[in-house]
Amino acid sequence: MGHSEPILKVSNLNVSLGSQKVVEDLDLEVEEGKAVAVIGPNGAGKTTLFRALLGMIPYQGIVQWRPKVRIGYVPQRMEIETDVPLTVREFLQLRQTKNFTEEKAREALKSVLLEEKLLDSGLGEISVGQRQRILIAWALLGKPEVLLFDEPTADIDISGQESIYQLVHHLQDRFHLTIILISHDLNVVYRYAEQVLCLNHRKICFGPPQEVLSPEQMQKLYGGHHTFFHHLESHQHH
């Protein structure tokens, strides 16, 4: 497997927002079927990296996806008003998937373990966790080979977050997805990621989490953020 062409090859990527360099000289290769976590402190350029990978913002350097690869994107959150007149069903229809049927809408909800009756609910009135799953279902409608998943943070409670990872992990197995996920939780990185990219504008480290997440690397990445050492030590003791 290691000899196959990577599904994503990034070389010498530089992204600036205004006068500020947000991503610098980044090289990265992602192999098919792998789960790669991107970690780093707030403002380290994680979401910006995603946006560059998706071609949403201008960048310098090379972002080379395997030709014709289908990419699904799950943004960190969706800023919508609670009373927006848009049902979940309509939101799925907005994707304009070819041959979209009621059956496909139901299947999409089932694949993210939501009840069918949610189709008639307003997109703004369901919980943040449910909406996150709808975003995943939405991405899955495009039958993606790669899923870019920007982790929801503060607004989902721990148990909700945990189950979203289990779900994503399950989907990875079921659909043979390559997953690139932005994570703020080292527990998640240890449990679900095969490789981790530590990003603080530049690449600080890259490799399997057990190998590259040393306390020294963490200090370099987060600048002596003690909570992460705790995390780390408890993992290394296991």
Binding site: I80, L86, Q93
Partner: protein
């Protein structure tokens, strides 16, 4: 003078197009921008009058220029679009008022459906239908772009193009409505029906349908009462629309539990 039936025909088509435009203005949360944008028509009308050209054409040219300005600002500037639009578009209202004679100013500000010719009526009907048709064709992309630009982008929707298309339709709608309700109240013709519909609707389809119904209903009332009491239809339209909005607020507090 235009017969009441011709007035109604104009009012119904123009307000249907305007209230459908309003749905997306509200989804995009640009009610204020939309309102201020309608003021830009005024200096256009003024200059057209000075040069003896068609006022609607003058309004349209200025609106298109303003729309391109907004569009560029949205993608280029770090300044808030609201602030810039609020200042410059209100300034253009002031400029327009200085350039126009008092009588014409009143008509440009408040509209006069009676001053329409029969040709104007048919042009309004055709262009309003074109706006409605165009909005219907792009409504899914438009709604997605307005609800989540990121998701729209991820499936290859060209946000800039769809946004520009919408803004042009918006400008066209404003130009059409100015004869009816005037530059001062045109923003309200677009926003009020949609704002009322949003209080009641749960789905996008319902939102669009209710907005059109509220718009048409208000405009019919506007024309009817203006003929009955020899008043200007614009303000009556806005007042009936506002009454519907207040009713929709009651509905919302009773039936929308969030």
């Amino acid at each position: 003078m235009l017969s009441i039936y011709m007035q109604l025909l104009t009012a119904i088509f123009v307000s249907a197009a305007a209230s459908l435009l309003g749905v997306f203005a509200i989804l995009k949360r640009m009610s204020l921008v939309g309102d201020a944008l309608s003021h830009v028509a005024l200096p256009g009308i003024a200059l057209a009058l000075v040069f003896h050209a068609n006022p609607t054409l003058g309004a349209l040219l200025f609106l298109f220029a303003a729309v391109i300005g907004i569009w560029l600002l949205e993608f280029k500037s770090a300044l808030s679009v609201d602030t810039i639009v609020g200042i410059f578009f209100t300034a253009s209202l002031a400029l327009g008022s200085l350039l126009i004679s008092d009588l014409e100013l009143l008509e440009a500000l408040l509209g006069d459906i009676n001053s329409l010719t029969e040709a104007d009526v048919w042009l309004s009907v055709i262009l309003s239908s074109a706006i409605i048709a165009a909005l219907w064709i792009i409504h899914k992309k438009l709604a997605l772009h307005m609800v989540s630009p990121e998701m729209a982008h991820s499936i290859g929707i060209q946000s800039k193009k769809i946004e520009l298309a919408y803004l042009f339709l918006f400008a066209l709608g404003v130009a059409l409505g100015i004869k009816f309700v005037g530059a001062l109240l045109m923003g309200a013709l677009i926003i009020i029906p949609a704002a009322a519909a949003k209080n009641i609707a749960r789905s996008l389809t319902g939102f669009m349908a209710l907005s059109i119904v509220a718009g048409i209903f208000s405009s019919v009332l506007g024309v009817y009462f203006s003929n009955l009491y020899q008043l200007s239809p614009g303000p009556i339209f806005i007042l009936s629309g506002t009454a519907i909005f207040v009713l929709s607020l009651f509905w919302r507090s009773l039936f929308k539990s969030y």
